[in-house]
Amino acid sequence: MTSLTAKDKQTVKAFWAKVSGKSEDIGAAAVARMLVVYPQTKTYFSHWQDQSPHSAAARKHGITVMMGVGDAVTKIDDLKEGLRELSELHAFTLRVDPGNFKILSHNILVVMAIMFPIDFTPDVHVSLDKFLAAVSLALAEKYR
């Protein structure tokens, strides 16, 4: 949709600096929530022995995803290039339908609201929403 302004980038970096210490918990909570609220997303994890939202595999996956988000923050000035390899992974190997990026992004925002109710102001919300949308777009870049 719209590209990130200087203010967006500044807001995202500042908020990330505050919350990154909890990135593992954020990721685990977001993935767990996604599996419960959008059960169709479980179709991507049929290889897990335990598909329950708080399984070790789900937590590990949440941590992996959030590490990717944190990495994207450092590459915020050129997400398309910075996330090129991750895009290739998602396009050719994982083949996750890009509609699911929006779903996971929504759940990340819900977790931010729960864990950081004071800091997750409307201004932070809009910049983070735009950022996650930009990350999703960069991830879908190599799909076709």
């Binding site: 929530r33 419960v36 609220v37 819900v110 609201a113 409307p122 201004d123």
Partner: protein
């Protein structure tokens, strides 16, 4: 007709009995106007919506936010017949207010975020699923009479 489990019914009644309409309503509407600024197109007569602080402090926004929550309460009280309960409201939003029904989803997402912040860890995945299902039914009913 929508089928509700006991858990879903109880969850919706519980949430709405706990939240303060004049806190959650204004917060959700203000957030929507900031996060999705194009929604401001429907509020030309509301005065200063220039930035987040102005939106948050705007008394017309607050009043309207509370109105919206009171409107939602009608669905809470008539969960088995939301479509008919909202038939007139749907016509109003279409014929008089000319609101693009895609916007209902945007407000619903902001409401989810605000309620999540209010309830904290009690807003579990299961509670979120019930709440989002309720809002999806509301959104669908509001868009029903558009032609």
């Amino acid at each position: 007709m929508v089928e509700w489990t006991d858990f879903e019914r109880n969850t919706i009644q519980d949430i709405f009995s706990r939240i303060e309409y004049d806190v959650v309503g204004p917060a959700a509407l203000a957030r929507c106007l900031v996060v999705y600024p194009w929604t401001q197109r429907y509020f030309g007569g509301f005065g200063n919506l220039y930035n987040a602080a102005a939106i948050k402090g705007n008394p017309m926004v607050s009043k309207h936010g509370t109105t919206i929550l009171n409107g939602l309460e009608r669905a809470v009280k008539n969960m088995d017949d939301i479509t008919n309960t909202y038939a007139e409201l749907s016509v109003l939003h279409s014929e008089k207010l000319h609101v693009d029904p895609d916007n209902f989803k945007l407000l619903a997402d902001c409401l989810t975020i605000v309620v999540a912040a209010q309830l904290g860890n009690e807003f579990t995945g299961e509670v979120q699923a019930a709440f989002q299902k309720f809002l999806a039914v509301v959104v669908s009913a509001l868009g029903r009479q558009y032609r």
